[in-house]
């Protein structure tokens, strides 16, 4: 028990330290994150990543980080969860290729099942929402120009789930968004004594939003399936978010830093809607999901980047889970997952709509009767090496540690 507590403390401390100190990353990343407020993250946990990032109709017995808050209704004991993820990114254009990698904080969440029998669970946490991370170096005759973007928007949330008498779970979350993104243009001259010029476009975001979700009762009998099977439907809706945005254009010379302009503007993030099905038969669970977010409705100071369009994502996943029992071996307790995903991304580059495909796999490894380490890996390919468009091979590896405690658990009498 002491060992677990120490392990938990170390991991959570490390994850939060990574979050506070900025993310560990190489010096490059996806150029597409320059568009809008960065690349939005849908999945926060290794479990969801492994079966295709989504999972709107999945209960979260061992995981808090699922994207449907109604799933918290399935959490039997207090859970603390934190994660980090490895991002590898292979970029290729018409003539050259490169590879960047780094680590990011993937969230810290806590869930308190106040009354498990009614699915009443309170959850709060801190999750990344978007990420900007790229650096492009261009060599001109007498100088090197570097264009970089760094930063992220995160959200702190608290929410509740509740399971209605007719076994439908609902969940609602208030989310407070905050973050800072900095786009820099840096001109370095090769000649000695010629000063570097840096222009920095800094934006700080803050504002509130909400997310609601439902998970249906078991519908297997309605469709004539075995009543022991579990067929669920889930729906998740995130409302549009207005972010107050403090922007500043700053010029940094060798002798002075001056603010050229400063404005308070509005950034409107579009709503998102996710729908999913899950079907569990004995040890196997299958998921199918659809996710939609109209990024064409994104506005920053009333303007929408021409590179943004609507995002549509579908995913298929499966999970092989053990049946709980006292005398299972370590290997028998391992949960296996796999998934496929296809995405019409929100990016339209040079008149071409970008799509992405991904394949994922993962495992849940028991650390004790209540604790678990989840590992998820996804390989995805986005875009194509043609004209201005970059082909991206994305390697995501998530580690999520989930610790359970018997707080608030009412003893059976």
């Amino acid at each position: 028990m002491l060992h677990n507590k120490i392990l938990r403390s170390v991991f959570i401390f490390s994850a939060i330290t990574i979050f506070i100190s900025g993310n560990y990353y190489g010096e490059g990343g996806s150029l597409y994150s320059r568009i809008g407020v960065g690349t939005p993250l849908i999945s926060y946990s290794a479990r969801n990543l492994a079966f295709g990032e989504l999972g709107a109709a999945v209960y979260s017995e061992y995981n808090v980080g699922g994207y449907n808050p109604a799933g918290w209704a399935g959490i039997p004991i207090t859970r603390t969860e934190a994660g980090i993820n490895y991002n590898g990114l292979g970029l290729k254009d018409a003539s050259t290729s490169t590879y960047y990698s780094g680590y990011h904080f993937s969230g810290f969440t806590v869930a308190f099942p106040i009354q498990y029998s009614k699915g009443i669970t309170l959850s709060l946490g801190l999750l990344p929402y978007t990420k900007v991370d790229y650096e492009v170096v261009s060599s001109v005759s007498d100088r090197e120009e570097t264009f970089s973007g760094q930063g992220s928007i995160s959200k702190a949330y608290f929410g509740l789930s509740y399971k209605t008498p007719f076994d439908m779970a609902v969940g609602a979350v208030y989310e407070y968004y905050m973050g800072k993104i900095d786009f820099q243009s840096n001109t370095d001259f090769y000649a000695a004594g010629v000063n570097t010029a840096i222009y920095s476009n800094e934006s700080s975001y803050f504002g509130g939003g909400y997310r609601i979700g439902i998970i249906s009762p078991n519908m297997s009998e309605l469709l004539g399936l075995n009543s022991k099977d579990l067929l669920l439907a889930g729906l998740v809706y995130s409302g549009p978010v207005n972010l107050t945005t403090d922007t500043a254009l700053v010029a940094v010379s060798a002798y002075n830093t001056k603010t050229l302009s400063r404005n308070l503007i509005e950034t409107e993030l579009p709503y998102s809607l996710g729908f999913g099905l899950s079907y569990q038969k004995e040890k196997l669970m299958y998921t199918a999901d659809l996710y939609f977010q109209p990024w064409s409705e994104y506005h920053s100071n009333g303007l929408t980047p021409v590179e943004l369009k609507n995002l549509t994502k579908i995913s298929l996943g499966m999970e092989y889970n053990y049946k709980p029992g006292q005398f299972l071996s370590f290997w028998e307790q391992i949960v296996l997952r796999a998934g496929l995903t296809y995405e019409q991304t929100q990016y339209r580059i040079d008149g071409t709509d970008l799509s992405a495909m991904g394949i994922s796999a993962g495992a849940g490894i028991p650390l004790s009767s209540t604790n678990r380490l989840d590992i998820g890996f996804m390989f995805a390919s986005r875009g194509k090496a043609e004209g201005k468009i970059i082909k991206e091979n994305i390697y995501n590896l998530f580690f999520t540690l989930s610790f359970g405690d018997f707080w608030f658990v009412q003893e059976e009498r």
Partner: protein, 403 residues
């Protein structure tokens, strides 16, 4: 098993964390708003207005690296106050008697080693050595201070060096032994004329100024020396050598008739320049990458001396009043270096501050080490008829917005 898995994960994570350096991939996706624009401005070609002037400024000479003596044909004259700390070894003090029978001063002389010359080097060089009667200190000593110095011409009223002698690497003049003996007795017995040093004053016939190493410098071989040869009659003869413990030179200004369309810089007096360019139309987003300013020297109008000045010093004015002559210390200073008749300096820190909103009342120009020289450099000014010889700045800038 758990430990093995965790170790394995760390190994895998370490292995896959390798990353390439940033590359040019994606440069075509950088939006125009993120890009920067480079430009080069030439004040002589881009019609940027400028003004120049010069003015005299009395400066602190007590910190000089040289002391100067002599007079130029223009009327510029420099005098030296110098003091040697005269003491006797304990073994000799007992021999010093009021009637000078125990210890006899045979002779006393001063060796000066010229390190700087300006003017007609082939002319003779004459000066008078005065015994100073009252105390003085180099710090803050100026032209007005010289008028309160009480001096007697009883050390050597007429040091005459002919043209051949004055070009030697050493200038020697003798002091009256009885005066030096008085200084020694004063230091040991008290009651005699105190040693307050000597005043070296040029005769009006001189046409050159010679400089000698000042106290602030440490090169032993050219340090001024006072030599006192003394003896105990019939027993021994010895020579005591002293280096100065105080020195300063004082330059009296003269009407030198400098041309108003030039920027005249001169040491000692001193003359400084003021030069301003109008950058008020510059885009405030501009970042100055470099700003090379050039000043062109009119060698014929200059009197450069040897060694000639190879550096200028520039600072920006903090106040719109030139009379205040106060510079903005936070902006630092720029040293201009010489290339033939052109002096060149990187004044990007100045131009950047002017563009950023620091009040632009121009920059102050002076000779580097102006307190240690009498050299005069005449640069073509902003109103000089030949515009190609006027001061010029070539500025390389980066802008956020397209011009």
């Amino acid at each position: 098993m758990l430990k093995k898995i965790i170790v394995l994960l760390f190994i895998v994570a370490g292995f896959i964390s390798c990353s390439d350096d940033p590359s040019s991939i994606g440069k075509d996706l950088i939006p125009p708003g993120d890009k920067v624009y480079l430009d080069t401005l030439d004040t002589s070609a881009d019609n940027i207005s400028q003004t120049s002037s010069f003015f005299s400024k009395e400066i602190e000479l007590g910190v000089s690296s040289r002391i100067l003596l002599g007079k130029l044909s223009s009327g510029l004259e420099s005098s030296i106050l110098i003091k040697f700390p005269i003491t006797l070894p304990d073994s000799m003090k007992s021999l010093l008697t009021a009637d000078s029978t125990g210890l006899v001063i045979n002779k006393a002389w001063v060796d000066l080693y010229p390190t700087y010359r300006i003017g007609d080097e082939n002319s003779s060089f004459d000066f008078t050595v005065f015994n100073v009667r009252n105390a003085w200190t180099p710090s803050g000593f100026n032209r007005d201070s010289l008028s309160i110095i009480e001096a007697q011409t009883d050390l050597n009223s007429n040091v005459k060096l002919d043209a051949a002698t004055v070009t030697d690497s050493i200038i020697t003049y003798f002091l009256k032994p009885e005066i030096v003996s008085g200084w020694l007795k004063s230091s040991v017995l008290g009651g005699y004329l105190q040693n307050n040093g000597m005043l070296l004053k040029s005769l009006s016939t001189n046409q050159q100024i010679i400089g000698f190493q000042a106290l602030s410098q440490t090169l032993v071989s050219v340090r001024p020396k006072l030599n006192i040869e003394l003896s105990k009659p019939g027993v021994y003869t010895d020579t005591l050598i002293y280096n100065p413990n105080a020195d300063v030179h004082i330059i009296s200004p003269s009407n030198q008739g400098f041309s108003s369309d030039m920027i005249n810089l001169q040491g000692g007096v001193a003359y400084r320049g003021k030069l301003a360019f109008d950058f008020s139309d510059m885009d405030k987003s501009t970042i100055v990458n470099s700003a090379i300013m050039t000043l062109t020297l009119d060698s014929l109008s200059s009197n450069q001396g040897d060694p000639r000045p190879d550096y200028l010093y520039a600072s920006i004015y903090a106040d719109s009043s030139a009379a205040v002559d106060s510079v903005l210390n936070t902006a630092g200073s720029v040293t201009f270096t010489r290339n033939g008749s052109v002096f060149e300096g990187e004044i990007a820190p100045f131009v950047q501050r002017w563009i950023d909103g620091v009040s632009n009342v121009g920059m102050r120009l002076s000779l580097y080490g102006e307190e240690s020289t009498a050299s005069h450099l005449a640069f073509y000014g902003s109103s000089f008829s030949d515009s190609s010889k006027r001061p010029k700045i070539v500025i390389k800038v980066t802008r956020r917005y397209a011009p």
